[in-house]
Structures are given as C-alpha cells and as structure tokens.
C-alpha cells in the first residue's frame, strides 16, 4: 500500500512539474491595436514630445496594429506606457505608446524564418504547427533578419498571380535599393504564396518570403495580425 501511495506521489509530482515547466517556457506575445486615430510614439515614457505619429486606419485602410516589445511582465509593470515595435524604417525601430491609445490582446503564434535552411516554422504556444520550405531574397535583394510582425492580410484579386492566394505584410522593409520601390510599393516585406512553385526552397525573391499556396491558405485561416515573425 505504501509503495502504491509513494508511486502515486511521484507520478502526481511529475505531472505538476511538467505542467509548471511548460507554462513557464511559453510566453504569449502582446499585440496593441490602435483605439484612437492618431497614436503618438515617444522615444521614452518620460520624453516631452513624440518622435512620430502613426495614423489609424493606416494609409492602406487597415487598423494600426503594433507588436508590444516587452513581455507580459513588462506590460504589467507599467500600465500607462507600452514599448512597441514600429512598422517603419529603419528595421528594428521601437518606441513607446500610451496604453490608453490602444487595446491589448495576446497572440500565441510565432513564425520563425531560417534564411540559411530556407524554412518557415509556425508554432502555437511553443509547439510546432508545421515547418515548410520557402523562397527567400536573392543575393542582391536579400531578406533582412530581425524581429517583425504581420500587419496586413490581403487576398489578391488575381489568385494565380505573383503573390498567390494570400499575402501577409510584414512590419519590416528591404534594405536593398533594387527592391525599394518594387511594384510601386515602399519596399515592405511580405509572406505570400506564389505563381512559381519551383522558386520555393531557393533564393529567388526581392526580399519577400514565398511559401507554397496551400500553406499560405492554411496560415490565412489561423493567424491574427500582430503575429511575431523572427527572421534569422
């Protein structure tokens, strides 16, 4: 009897430890959606003047979405200000916004893009959902590494066109002059499908991430805006 009790204790304790560890390993991302038409961005919470203003809706007509740069603990530490990643040049720009100007939600998804392996990995709560081969930027129009987030989702009217059935916009930009005005745009990076399946797994893009059309279609059914994208 005593052995059985001790065995149950060991099993139960192991379950508790495993649960504790798994909840500690994963931290959701925090996403801020503009609640006002003009979001002032400050270099620090103590700064007297903002360095820029971001409008919502954006120039493309979408609500402004920002990825919170801190963890949940940072957010809880100061409920008046939020550190955020900014969808502006140069890549990696950050600033502070008033918490009152945004609504905050959590996001359990992450996208990791490995340029060397030419692979995209999607995780949910730290668990791999899928891994897929991708096309990445050419040598003269490389995909820049960094921490970004998806801030747009477009369904092109031409499903068999360059971007495939869906295209996500990223908060980052190509640093290459050759891609700065691609298709009349501002050099914004994207994750999208393709009309050239043979380009998957190769360095063939102007900086965007190309994924198979069935994969981008699947992503469009599950990913909210604000999903963090790490390119390494």
């Amino acid at each position: 009897m005593r052995v059985l009790l001790l065995l149950a204790c060991v099993v139960g304790a192991a379950a508790l430890i495993a649960r504790h560890n798994s909840s500690e390993a994963f931290t959701p991302a925090w996403v801020a959606t503009a609640a006002v038409a003009d979001v002032a961005v400050y270099p620090t919470p103590a700064a007297p003047e903002p360095t820029m203003h971001l409008t919502s809706p954006t120039a493309d007509g979408d609500p402004l979405v920002l990825l919170v740069a801190g963890t949940a603990k940072d957010v809880e530490k100061d409920d008046a200000w939020l550190p955020v990643h900014l969808p502006v040049r140069p890549n990696g720009s950050q600033g502070w916004v008033r918490a009152a100007d945004v609504t905050v939600s959590t996001n359990d998804y992450r996208i990791l893009i490995d340029l060397d392996d030419r692979k995209l990995t999607l995780t949910h709560e730290g668990e791999v959902v899928f891994k897929t081969a991708i096309g990445v930027g050419k040598d003269n129009t490389p995909t820049p590494g960094g921490i970004y987030y998806i801030d747009e989702l477009i369904q092109p009217t031409e499903a068999n066109g360059l971007y495939g059935p869906f295209a996500y916009g990223l908060s980052g930009f190509s640093d290459s002059p050759a891609a700065a005005n691609f298709r009349g745009g501002d050099g914004a990076l994207g994750i999208h499908g393709t009309n050239d399946p043979d380009s998957i797994g190769k360095q063939t893009s102007h900086g965007c991430i190309r994924v198979p059309n069935d994969v981008i279609s699947h992503m469009a059914t599950i990913l909210p805006l604000g999903t963090p994208v790490e390119i390494v």
């Binding site: 204790c9 304790a13 508790l16 007509g61 989702l153 369904q155 691609f182 745009g185 994207g190 900086g207």
Partner: protein, 134 residues
C-alpha cells in the same frame, strides 16, 4: 505518521493531476456535450456579414453565448424552441483570422450545457493589390 504524510501527499498529487491545465475544463467531472455549427462565409471583407448556424441544436430551448475570443466581440441569442439558433456577426475591421466560440447555457455565467466546436473565419483586405517585395 509516515502513512499520514504519504496520504496527504497522495491527495495533493491527485489534485495536481486533476487540476485543469489551461482550458478551464474540469478533469474528472462530466464534460458538457460537444456540438457542431457552421460559419458562412469563412473569408470576408471588413464589415461584411457572417452567419453562424447550429448544425446540432442545444438540448432544449435556452441561450447561446458566443464570442470571437477573450476581450473581443461577443453576444448571446435565444434558441428556437427545438434548440437551434442563428447568429449574425459583423466582421471586425482588422484583417486576420478569428475564432468563433459558442456554448449553450440557461443564463450568463451559468454552467455550459453544451459547447460548440471552435470555428474560424478570416477577414481579408481585397481593395488593393499587394505591393510587397515579391
């Protein structure tokens, strides 16, 4: 004494196994019935109408509480006499994928009598061509 400590530890361990992980479901107790519903359309532009319809009705006439996730759009609707229901939602303005959750209950905050399987829909911008770096 050792037996008493072991017994207490056993109870604590069982609680550890029994405590729900994250989803609020209570292990060891009867689970609410799982039902199915449909959403249409599943790809919409911002502000478009989406209709959720029960495929399997609630067990009896009651309320259906629905939500697009924590802190997001939510509401309730009275079922028909046979338990079926229809919910019409205006798609959010922010593009992206949204979950739709619904459950049957007699009143707000009351126990869920039945839970509907999660559904998803996607809000997409179609009013402009992508201009990303290809």
């Amino acid at each position: 004494m050792k037996q008493w400590i072991a017994a207490v530890a056993f109870m604590g361990a069982m609680v550890g196994l029994w405590v729900p992980a994250t989803d609020g479901a209570i292990g060891g107790l009867a689970q609410p019935a799982s039902l199915s519903a449909t959403l249409s359309p599943t790809y919409v532009q911002p502000g478009a109408q989406i209709t959720a319809t029960s495929t399997q009705p609630c067990p009896q006439p009651m309320q259906v509480f629905w939500s697009l996730g924590p802190g997001s759009l939510s509401g309730s609707v009275q079922t028909n006499t046979e338990g079926s229901w229809v919910v019409r939602i205006t798609a959010p303005r922010t593009p992206g994928a949204y979950p739709f959750f619904a459950y049957c209950a007699f009143n707000q905050g009351g126990n869920a009598i039945a839970m509907y399987n999660q559904l998803n829909f996607t809000v997409v911008a179609q009013n402009r061509p992508p201009r990303f770096t290809g």
